[in-house]
Amino acid sequence: MTLAPIIESLPLYASGLGLTLQLLAIALLAGGLAALPLALLRVHPSRWVHGPVWCFTYALRGTPLLVQLFLVYYGLAQFELVRASFAWPWLQSAWFCACLAFALNTCAYTTEIVAGALRATPHGEVEAARALGLSPAQVWRRIVLPSALRRALPAYGNEVVLMLHGTALASVVTLLDLTGAAREVNSRHYLPFEAFLTAGAIYLAVTLAIVGLQQLLEKRWLAHLRARA
């Protein structure tokens, strides 16, 4: 093991980690916000309402993230209409395209996770709320949504970790995220083991931190579902 070049490159890894976390945060925030209304439409009884949402999530969950990233970054440039539009300066930037592709991807998965939790709401909770005289809007806002979002937490924690790993693809479209930093170090010093193991160790640490945070949140918000001794 030759560690001197790795220690020298630590600032590069640090800025790479910063970009990775930034991409993750933006994707989760934008994708999560869009997923909430989509999940409500996804559980709507009418086929004309939940059908299109299903098409969106099926297409995004059935294709690789790399395809989606390439479609946004390389694919959209094919159309004259896109190149003439106001969004073109944004769509030329690899950073923006990565954010957009990751947000769309996590939005599809989050929609299904939240919709699943909504469907699994115990009917007694809804009946009790109605019996207390809550209006339909109040039932959604005060009972169904808080209850479902809590129960979605374990599955959502997995999604966050998968998205963290998905952001590694940003390095394929030239961004210097954590993986990009490791590729840069490898091509500068030709130290593949040291370069990629360092990045892997950092990813592992972030993953474990996310899992720890998830368990903490579950302890707090899912306390009512735990088996009582």
Binding site: A59, G62, T63, Y74
Partner: protein
């Protein structure tokens, strides 16, 4: 519409499927070994299996693939040089890709198989032993066939995720469907068309797999009792 690149894309699809099936085989072997190690009485084997599943699931597959590809290149050539070999040896991206994806999904399958093995009632194991079977016979004739039934839903999900993660093999230069789509996109200046075509092929593989998995589930469920609602 595809400017004559259709056959090339289909050839790439075959390569993508070959990578997926090859990785699945490696993953199944590693997953079974990991699950049995995790459930064994030896503390060392349990710790090894836990370290394997935790470390692999905490690191992006792209990072591991770059590690295996570039690191493998270095290691193979160093070993060859020590053995007196002077020519430079190239690591085949197909081998590196299959090994990495197999190794990664072995960790996921280990968790799947562990849960499924635990779901087989203990009485089945005991009955096998009481009939005079050896431990290996009980495993092969009693536990594995029943375990597969419980494992199938999660196994199916793992397969769908595995197929999609084969797309990243194009990053290390394997001439798979993604790389061919990229070549065609460059030659025709119609990137959207070709990446959309690649996405559609992945979607078709996903949809066909789902049909196949449903048929397999029916077959494996032979002999189980279900209450018809």
């Amino acid at each position: 519409m595809l400017h004559g690149y259709g056959p090339a894309l289909l050839e790439g699809t075959l390569l993508t499927l070959a990578v997926a099936l090859g990785s699945l085989m490696i993953a199944a072997v590693l997953g079974l070994a990991g699950a049995l190690a995790r459930l064994s009485r030896s503390r060392l084997l349990r710790a090894l299996s836990l370290a394997y599943t935790t470390a692999i699931r905490g690191v992006p597959d792209l990072v591991l693939m770059l590690l295996v590809f570039y690191g493998g290149q270095l290691a193979v050539n160093e070993v060859a040089a020590r053995l007196g070999h002077t020519d430079y040896i190239d690591v085949d991206p197909f081998v590196a890709g299959v090994l990495t994806i197999g190794f990664v999904f072995g960790a996921y399958l280990a968790e799947t198989f562990r849960g499924a093995l635990l779901a087989v009632p203990a009485g089945q194991h005991e009955a096998g032993l009481a009939c005079g079977m050896s431990g290996a016979q009980v495993l092969r004739r009693i536990l594995l066939p029943q375990m597969l039934r419980h494992a199938l839903p999660a196994l199916g999900n793992n397969w769908l995720v595995l197929v999609k993660s084969t797309a990243i093999v194009s990053v290390i230069g394997l001439n798979d469907m993604m790389l061919r789509a990229g070549q065609a996109a460059g030659a025709t200046r119609e990137p959207f068309v070709f990446y959309a075509a690649a996405g559609a092929i992945y979607l078709a593989i996903t949809a066909l797999s789902e049909l196949g998995l449903r048929a397999l589930a029916r077959r494996l469920a032979v002999g189980t009792r279900t209450a018809t609602p």
